[in-house]
């Protein structure tokens, strides 16, 4: 069966249809995500089960982190897709187009923090019910999967819906009091740094999830926490975190540049030639640099680390990689957009759609 070209799949939709379509996509993504994360949680735990309290923490933390990162993804996705013309304005204004600058760091991260607080209440409430129901017993994969789907997935889908609507509303009705920001400050200080901190915390928590039942200090047997175990999947850790933050900040850079919200301190060097934009090489270098940094972490990490040391090591690698990848992704997106070497939504040009 011949796949339709992407530009035919991407077509402008009214806001309601756009949100409904993306909600369906989000549900599918959350099901897969919950299945994978619950599988990882169960597979590394003793007896493939978590205690009731561990399960409650798992659900609450899952909701917080899913919403914390999902808040940025949904906002910038809605913003860039609406700015690209994939969302059609309807008669009713949607989302909150407030008087404050929605791109200000305080507003941007404040929305994410507020959403995380609501998600925390949601996940914690569900977690407490789980503790009451399990009553001292343990939870296996089915409970973890469905619990995470309801807690993290439910919160993330709701937050995604609100975030996309807010982003699209900002693109369709840009607030008047928005000011352009210097690209370096915006990229590294306002986006990459807090995002890296969030990624670090998420990875520390994920490290706990992976290794909390591993034996510390033992040299033999299964599930023993060793330096090798802690860093065994470092390539995956680096690549996955790079991809996620590059996706978020790349979209942010392109969207904000398209809305003329970015200024370049040194335009001659920061903006590429119109025929040759910045490529993806920097991300390859970032991943290689992270793998080299792993050697340093390996040197500093004891042969038989404890759980805290494992969490710090993996959080450091993930946060460091995320910081570099996020900063470069924003600058690259903004620069390429300004130079006209890329589109807001990859391979989507409204004119082509119209002619097609």
């Amino acid at each position: 069966m011949k796949r339709p070209p992407r530009r035919k799949l991407l077509r402008p939709l009214p806001m309601r249809d756009y949100l409904a379509f993306n909600t369906i996509i989000a549900v599918v993504v959350e099901v897969v995500q919950a299945a994978v994360i619950a599988g990882l949680a169960a597979s590394r735990a003793n007896g493939h089960r978590l205690t009731a309290v561990q399960t409650a923490i798992f659900l609450a933390a899952g909701a917080i982190f899913a919403v914390g990162i999902g808040s940025l993804i949904s906002f910038y996705s809605g913003l860039s897709e609406a700015a690209a013309g994939l969302v059609l304005r309807d008669e009713k204004p949607r989302g909150a187009s407030s008087a404050t600058d929605p791109f200000a760091p305080r507003a941007l991260w404040g929305r994410a923090a507020l959403a995380a607080v609501v998600a925390a209440a949601w996940g914690t409430g569900l977690g407490l019910l789980v503790v009451a129901v399990l009553d001292g017993r343990q939870a296996g994969y089915p409970i973890l999967f469905v619990g995470l789907l309801v807690a993290g997935g439910g919160a993330s889908v709701a937050r995604g819906l609100i975030g996309r609507a807010a982003g699209a509303a900002v693109a369709l009705d840009p607030p008047q009091n928005v000011r352009a920001r210097p690209v370096r400050r915006r990229a590294w200080l306002e986006l990459a740094l807090p995002l890296a901190a969030l990624v670090g915390v998420v990875n520390a928590a994920f490290t706990w999830l992976l290794f909390h039942d591993y034996a510390v200090g033992a040299q033999f047997g299964a599930h023993v926490l060793t330096e090798q175990q802690v860093l065994a999947d470092v390539a995956t850790l680096v690549v996955v975190n790079s991809l996620i933050v590059s996706f978020i900040c790349g979209r942010a850079g392109r969207a904000e540049a398209a809305m003329k919200l970015v200024t370049f301190e040194d335009a001659a060097t920061q903006i590429p030639d119109a025929k040759a934009g910045f490529g993806v090489q920097i991300f390859v270098y970032t991943v290689f640099a992270a793998l080299v940094a792993t050697s340093l972490v390996r040197f500093l990490l004891p042969a038989l680390p404890n759980l805290w040391e494992a969490m710090v090591a993996r959080a450091f690698l993930a946060a460091g990689t995320a910081f570099v990848a996020a900063g470069f992704a924003y600058v690259r997106g903004a620069a390429n957009m300004t130079a006209g070497t890329t589109t807001l939504v990859p391979r989507y040009r409204p004119a082509e759609t119209a002619s097609a």
């Binding site: 909150a96 209440a121 409430g125 407490l128 939870a139």
Partner: protein, 472 residues
Amino acid sequence: MKRLLAIAAVFVLAGLPFSGHAANNLEIGGETEAFALRVEYDIPLPAGPGTIPHVVGEIRRSYGENAKGLAAAPTNLGAVVAGDVYDPWSGYNGNDGPLHVGSVQTGINPPFDPHNGLPTTECFYPGQGADTAVRYPTDLRSKSPATKAVPPLSYAHAQCSPGPQTQLTAWAASADSPGTATAPIGAVIHTGAVQADALLRPVKGVVQSHTRASAKAVTILGGVIRIGSIEAEGSSSSEGPGRKAGTTGHVAISNITAAGQTFSLADDEITLAGQTFPVDSSAGQSFLEALNGALSPSGCKLSILGPASQYPQGYLLSRKPPRLGVASDGTYAASMNGGMLILCDMPKSLSDPTTFSPQRAQILVGFEYSMARANNAPGGFGFGGLVGHIIKPARDITVTHTIPGTNGAAAVAAKTADAPPSIPAQQALSSAPRSVRVIPLSGAARWLLVAIGIALLLAATNLAMRRLRSLG
């Protein structure tokens, strides 16, 4: 209305995954123990020449999995083996001089060549010793050209693995083979081939515990009592809540010759000269009385042990007394059976040079114990009992019924002999509810958690719904 429906949907979704069959801390477990002969001397502390042959196995899955086991033919668990002090530190000490424990010199010379160590081995999973084997004398004298290539006289193999699974095998051509550490016990007990096996594992949704021990051509005290063969075998299985559990076991002792009488014992029945009668019948009682009367000049007395009896802790069992019976909900099954108990005053020729007189030996002939537990279905999670568990107390092990084929009768003790300590009747599982949870929450705590959880869910749902409604 929409908001109410949304909140209702939340609680339905939240309740869906929580089955009443969610795991307990101890999900599955299995235990076995079997031996053909156990001999203890009364000098003055219980001690013995070992248990011949011996397998003890256990599997557990709770927060993690573990499996452990001991296989021996015979075991060196006794502090005194073959009349000499067994030195558990021999491997450490090297037995190149007087024994010492740590830095304390005892001044006692090693009881036997350390290279004659008993074919006893243990396994534990997870850990280094998950698969261990000892072949005698092949392994213990591997540097000797004379023994390097000869077939082993005995071996013990213990294998513990994930699953969890424990597999044990012990075999000896004779428990008192010449040249072995236990050769001197031949004066008390001589055996032909002895073998013991155990296999404990969850397989195809069933926790299975099986064990077997046998010995052939046994001679006690130089022929006072002769036994053709001993076989102790037991199996228990459990499929988990709402399914089946069962247990079975028997000890069969064939061709027992004592005081000129030859008889066999199996299934609580004595077979004598072609006639079979229950052990606890008047004919059985009369036979035992007559037999013990005839045996009294030899200093020995004999009693028959019943199935599923409660035995003294420490003497027979390497663990605290277990619960016996079958749980009607399919979560537990256990049984144990003993064969004969023989008490003998040791002849002076054997008890010398000790100053204990009379020195006694108590010999248990045939014993098996098996247990299987599945608090949760061994295969994993079931979606039965959805939602309702929050208002229902946790499942307990409750009513049991008597194990088929075991009437729970007390052991039959010979009336002519000094009565051994009375052995109580079968210990059945209690009919009183018994929680299997480790740390259950109090009712108030559970409802408090439920209340706080619902309040948080309502608050979060309300906030989210407001934002979603604003989208139109």
